[in-house]
Amino acid sequence: MKTARLNPARQSWVIFTGRYLRELYRQPTVIFLALLQPIIWLLLFGALFKEVAKIPGFGTGNYITYLTPGVVIMTAIFGSSWTGMSYIEDMQTGVLDRFLTAPVSRTALTVAMLAYQAVTTIVQSAIIIAIGWAIGASFPGGWAGILALTGVSVLIALAMAGLSNAFGLLTRQREALIGASTTLVLPLTFLSGAFLSLTLVPHWIADVARFNPVNWAASAGRLAVAGHAAWGTVGSYAGFLAIAAVITALAATRAFRTYQRAL
């Protein structure tokens, strides 16, 4: 037999990641909307809260500079909160069963989805940062700061994607995932410092935000691009985010077992 000179499980995640990217490439409308959305956020919130940055205690006088990292993080969690939809679609079309009857490890399926999410988040973040810069944001932290912002946006995207995948596998219902995603993502975004400095919001929101991974990502990203050299804080936020990402990835992998037991 010609098969299996390479350990199939080791490389199958690469094959799956390629599949997801190719599917995305074949849907230009999806790509267009994914890029249009953050542009709208930047312009809309930028105009809406323009004067807010002048309030003392805001830190930076330029709201676009404040907003850009927030929109990077928000876009990362919006996109990744839908990844579970791919599993639901694959279940309904029989594609998932085909993969599960091939010698593919369940970990490879999870890793592929996360790798895909990482790639799209990096591209998306880079484009948003470029647009932010074009409309007046400044990044005193330089390339290191931009890299760190992109890094934390990937981490929060992975954490969210793992959650979405696990939820998709467990509920096996489009509507349930749409409901959960919209219920979770907007509050998490607004209960963070993504759009407004936490010094300006009610105390309870600031308290909640301390435990909100979206706020960890937004804060770490903003500190990094601001160049205050608070690398210790950035690093510990990134560490928490990495732990969250690992936990949700394990949950997603375990959810395969539950999925198979249920059917």
């Binding site: 037999m1 390479l6 190719r22 079309t93 029989g94 009857t101 198979q260």
Partner: protein, 323 residues
Amino acid sequence: MTSAVEAAGLRKAYGKKGDVVQALDGLSFSVRAGAMHALLGPNGAGKTTTVRILTTLSRPDEGQASVAGLDVLAQPGKVRSVIGAVSQHSGAVGLLTGAENLALQGGLYGLHGRGLRNRTAELLDAFGLADAANRQAKTYSGGMRRRLDIATVLVHRPSVLFLDEPTTGLDPQGRADLWAVLTKLAAAGTTIVVTTHYLEEADQYADRIGIVDRGKIVAEGTADDLKAALHGDSVVLELDGHDLAERAEKVLAGVPHVASAAADGALVRARVDDGPRALPSVLAGLEAGSIPVRSVTVARPSLDDVYLHYAGRSFLQAERIPV
């Protein structure tokens, strides 16, 4: 000859306490290597659950199963590398082309480079998809999709192929084409386990048939064996309406050589040992009862009769009222 598939005492229940559906209730069967084996039964009989267990997608509550000599429960990974499984749904990634779908599957089995390209081209050719190779699978017709599904799971030359209701949703031509493909594969030595709820398909194409009802195999054998085991023929009489048919049913119950009779609309089916020999007394009995007969046919038992005999209800009835 060794058996390629072995299932013993499979039991599986779905649902929570108070609302439990016993999908499998001690299902056992075995398939000879190289045979085309049909699992025939109405919707809800347990065919899909059986296939899901044998293809490692699901685990039974009780029982054992092996495929190609490998224990399905203990060595699912090894089983996966020797089987191909086509589920009821397509299984093709719609946004990928036919060739890409095949290449993806081949990659999962470690094929790459020229070996993968050759195998992909060979399969596309063999399944009449060469012209559509570079079109996205979502543009394929139902029949093409089915052929792609089968080509896809053959990429690693599995020794046992499982297909769950592969002809559902296909037009008659598509169904005939698909069976031609399967017959060819079986002739080349692949063991095939196929589920269907089309009696005539199992009758025509399968080497052996296992009749599944309420989570069990209720009868097994070749189509001819199953029919011969019924010992007898059916005499089907057409009458002028249901009332006459019901009267005929009563009259026939008292006629010698008639084992049983059942009215079904304007028809009456009588089971007899030997059709041609019983016919005169059947007709004489009806004439004595002044029941005019419009037509009469003597038939060898059909699989429908076999199903009726073993499951205690007609196949159509079972399809209408799922268990």
